[in-house]
Symmetry: D2
Subunit: 343 residues, 4 copies
């Protein structure tokens, strides 16, 4: 950690801070420059967090040298992690497509859409039972009944499912009925939810928040791993920027950036990342080419009637066309497209 002092800081204060650093078991360094005095602290600087040197009135700026995350970092765990999603391997060369409707609306809708996406090559199902919606007047999901439909369809089709959990009190129900917990963008920093999911063992698909930096996302994953659950799958789904022609700005830069720093697999959700059905196919291909480990895609039998996010849902035929393009692309990129045991 590098500590830049304000101009005019006196010797006594400098010594005080250096002593503080030494007391923490780190090696203090004194670098008196012409315009600024700079101090250093060598060692595991995360310990220094406790010193709160940034609060000190003589400190102009604190510049960490190391990333604030540990367990999610490739330095601690150099090989790619492979997460077992109800029998489907995610990460390390496997490319996984998870598809289904934004929200579970009925058994028929879920079963029909599920059958179509699995037939087209998806290896897991998605479908929301608890829907966080911006308006209190919008459809909020079927809740428990939705979970049960999802679980039944999953068994009938022989594929794993993921579904969103929005609240600590729902964790048990979601764990019973789903093969993975999805944490939505709005809950990425719901730390109580993350800590509780850290106590479980089913995989957590953690979506990046709309205002979250890559570092924030990795720190949110660190919450889960630090509690004991190592089965975390990251998901890029677009960030909020000034551009309004698309619902979000899909930040594909984050894919190769995270791949270099973390061993966790990362999916891309081009449905939320664009908000426009017409953009989902090209951005799915782009995500694969950028190095993503898979996709999370919204498909609906009849988007015009969808109770939520119909504007960004693919028709089953469009999804089939996408899967047909994806196969050869993933293959020349040197990865393996997962298919269901059934297929």
């Amino acid at each position: 950690m590098i500590i830049v002092l304000k101009p005019g800081t006196d010797e006594k204060t400098v010594k005080e801070i250096l002593d503080h650093i030494a007391e923490c078991g780190l090696k203090p360094l004194h670098m008196p420059g012409e315009e600024r005095v700079v101090l250093g602290a060598l060692g595991d600087e995360r310990i220094l967090g406790k010193l709160h040197l940034e609060n000190h009135p003589s400190v102009e700026e604190v510049k960490p040298v190391l990333a604030p995350y540990k367990m999610v970092s490739r330095e601690v765990h150099p090989e790619d992690s492979v997460i077992n999603l109800g029998g489907v391997p995610v990460g390390n060369g496997f490319f996984t497509v998870i598809a289904g409707p934004c929200a579970v609306e009925s058994y028929d809708q879920m079963h029909e859409t599920g059958r179509a996406v699995i037939a087209a090559g998806a290896s897991a199902l998605r479908g929301g039972a608890f829907k966080p919606r911006t308006s209190p007047y919008a459809f909020q999901g079927l809740g428990q009944a939705g979970l049960e439909i999802l679980s039944q369809v999953s068994r009938e089709l022989g594929v794993p499912t993921i579904t969103e959990v929005v609240e600590v009190a729902d964790i048990d129900a979601v764990e019973t009925h789903s093969d993975a917990f999805q944490v939505g963008a709005r809950n990425m920093q719901n730390f109580r939810l993350l800590m509780e999911l850290g106590q479980r063992r089913k995989p957590v698909v953690l979506k990046r928040g709309m205002a979250a930096t890559v570092e924030d996302l990795l720190m949110a994953a660190e919450y889960i791993l630090s509690q004991g659950n190592k089965n975390v799958i990251l998901c890029e789904r677009g960030i909020r920027t000034f551009e309004t022609s698309t619902r979000n700005t899909l930040d594909l830069n984050a894919i190769p950036f995270i791949k270099q720093r973390s061993h966790l697999p990362i999916l891309v959700d081009p449905s939320h990342g664009t908000g426009l059905r017409e953009l989902v196919t090209p951005m799915s291909l782009a995500a694969a080419a950028a190095g993503a480990d898979g996709l999370l895609i919204e498909v609906h039998q009849n988007p015009a009637e969808a109770l939520s996010d119909g504007r960004q849902s693919l028709y089953p035929e469009q999804f089939e066309t996408l899967m047909n393009s994806l196969g050869p692309l993933v293959s020349i990129l040197g990865r393996k497209l997962n298919t269901t045991a059934a297929a």
Copy 2:
């Protein structure tokens, strides 16, 4: 609601959509232009949400005419609301300063800081017991013990308090020990929390999320009001932008903009809005001049030792100086600075 159709949409589809609109009890309008066919739907267009016209493959764009919020709107409730915060009136000409440490660290710290800020003119106390922190390795708050300290200090000093609630399961405890619920920026769209707080009657101080538009903030407030709790106080605390010299970008434009559209009072938090102690005083004055109904300010007896957010906490002497400047300013702006019953 205005519905722009894609070029080349056929007559049959146009008729279908117009019929849908009429079935909802709204008046349909047909406006065939040279380059686009435009449809209209007159009436309470919020009903139209159920039609999901934006999902229709022939619809290019849907442009709402009315704001999506109702109960928080000035059109429904033209006069300013005044919220009773444990005896202190907030809104409609009263200017309220709520101050205290970011986190409750100990009885001594809370009592000492509390006494200082009340002496300087604050009319309510703040202090966090449950702290959402970006890093799992950072101080997470004292929890239940923190609530009890806050409540004890509140009684001893004879002033109301507010504290953050981060989880549905904690609502009862916070309700018992505090005069208001604070919903932090990261939970502004934790809709389950909002709906549950809508069932209570103590005021909710709702902070704007880092990526939330003004409309998102008003919709989040609508969640609470729609459940029955009309005691909502908004709070602007900065949004995330590309500017990194300050922790957030304090969006004071939002103050007069919201004042025109909503009857709810709105506070400003210049501590989080800047992240820098040196900027808190000028931005507090600016917030008052922009029309805010009060301030939420972090003060710590010894910021250099604060367990969280010390970099943005005022020293008690700085807070006193701020209050001395604020008095005459609020007065020439035609508003009344609240003082404690005690003072």
Copy 3:
């Protein structure tokens, strides 16, 4: 165009505005709703710009129905444009890679890098003679001497070149020495420069500004086309967002979005779009998969010694590896990788 009036607007004002619309030769429409009066104007609404209805004190909001651009739009020109870049076709199925150093530093550097990138499969050269730099103390380019080096190397290697023009007074010199004008992100809204380039016939590679929406970019292109120069090639190079781990956020969503609305070809610059050498290769592949018509890539013989942007420049060997991956990818995407006449 849809005009939403403020609540309480009187009949007389409504009639006045409707008359204004009719006087412009458009068909006025009156839609009195329950909460708002809405007016419409059917016809070429761009004429309405002259009415400035948004300024009217009784107007709450003006919602255009049509895009503000015309000549760049696919509605006016449905087929993809192909731009002739010094003999190399850009757009409509051709995939073009333009590579070279950020700045021309010397004949040797330019010739050596040029030879390497052409050998690896680039079909045109880039190299800056006039460098806009954030700091007045940084290297500003070789100017006229740089143009001459670029032109000589271009002739020797038998490939076309592009180079940046930053000022109206330099247009003639750049036109003499280069096969295309590059307009940098900082000049995307330098309208005088755009209008003057609209008088010329050599192609203009127009880079998106850091704060420019897709619509702003298309309007900037419209400036050039409206003056008579139809040879415009767009370029996505990243926008400024809150994410700081990369230099910019490369907005690949913009590629398929623009492809649907405009006939102009669009390149991607992954060097500026990421700012990090390690991300250039995966994001180049992603750009191709998203539908881009080509790439603009910085390559330097010795990035460690580059006078500008070395951190994002590829080594020649890395560029060669990229080109080897790009070939088969572009091919399965159904496009044709341009190669030099020489190769």
Copy 4:
């Protein structure tokens, strides 16, 4: 400057970089930590820019200790600068209001608006002759004729004027007819324009770009000062963020932040900063309270007929009311409101 090396960097490379630093006349420092080797360079690190250490393949990150600007910095020039704007002092306790229409449309319009704003207390006039407009089909200003009108009205009313310059070729004409050069947001990084203005002596009002950080703005000012023109007045006019309810997000945090780091005066433009007439008055007061040295405000005799930006222009009566509120506010803030010699 602090240089963090990548893990596994060998001794030889470390020595090489340390030698480079020493060759530049700076003191090299070696700090071998457990997880990273960190190097330091003490002295005027701006010299180090020439080393381009960030390009080195073994360098993970370069962290500057000093700000990249010098001449605009308060460290070099501790007292507030006062700029002479055609006889009106700007900065150091003087509060200056510059008002007028967005664009000069005719002699009558300019004279009438000018008389009104001067009568209300403005001390200088604004009015654009060259208008950068997003659409090529919008009004582009009267050009030379506009300059002459502005200059004539200025003489008749006995007050100074400022007007925008968009192109090097226009500098002479603007210098002849105006008391100051205004550089618009879109030209803040038109470095050729900045360098040429650095050769002149009339003041430059430099507006912050929509995507410019505070540091970018100060670096743009450094361009002008480094060429010899010390008469620079900064201007905050809003940045582009995800918030769309206002045209821009006025970043008032920038005012006290810049005041601490730079001696240059800074104005606020609440007209562009909000885009909404109704917000101009509260945000003008907020700007004064935040510490701005003055305001740049759009006023039009008849905003409904304005050829540009009418939506954000005040009516003369609104401007008068604003000036009446501003006087006492500026006074209790301890500053002095400039008035014209005439008044």
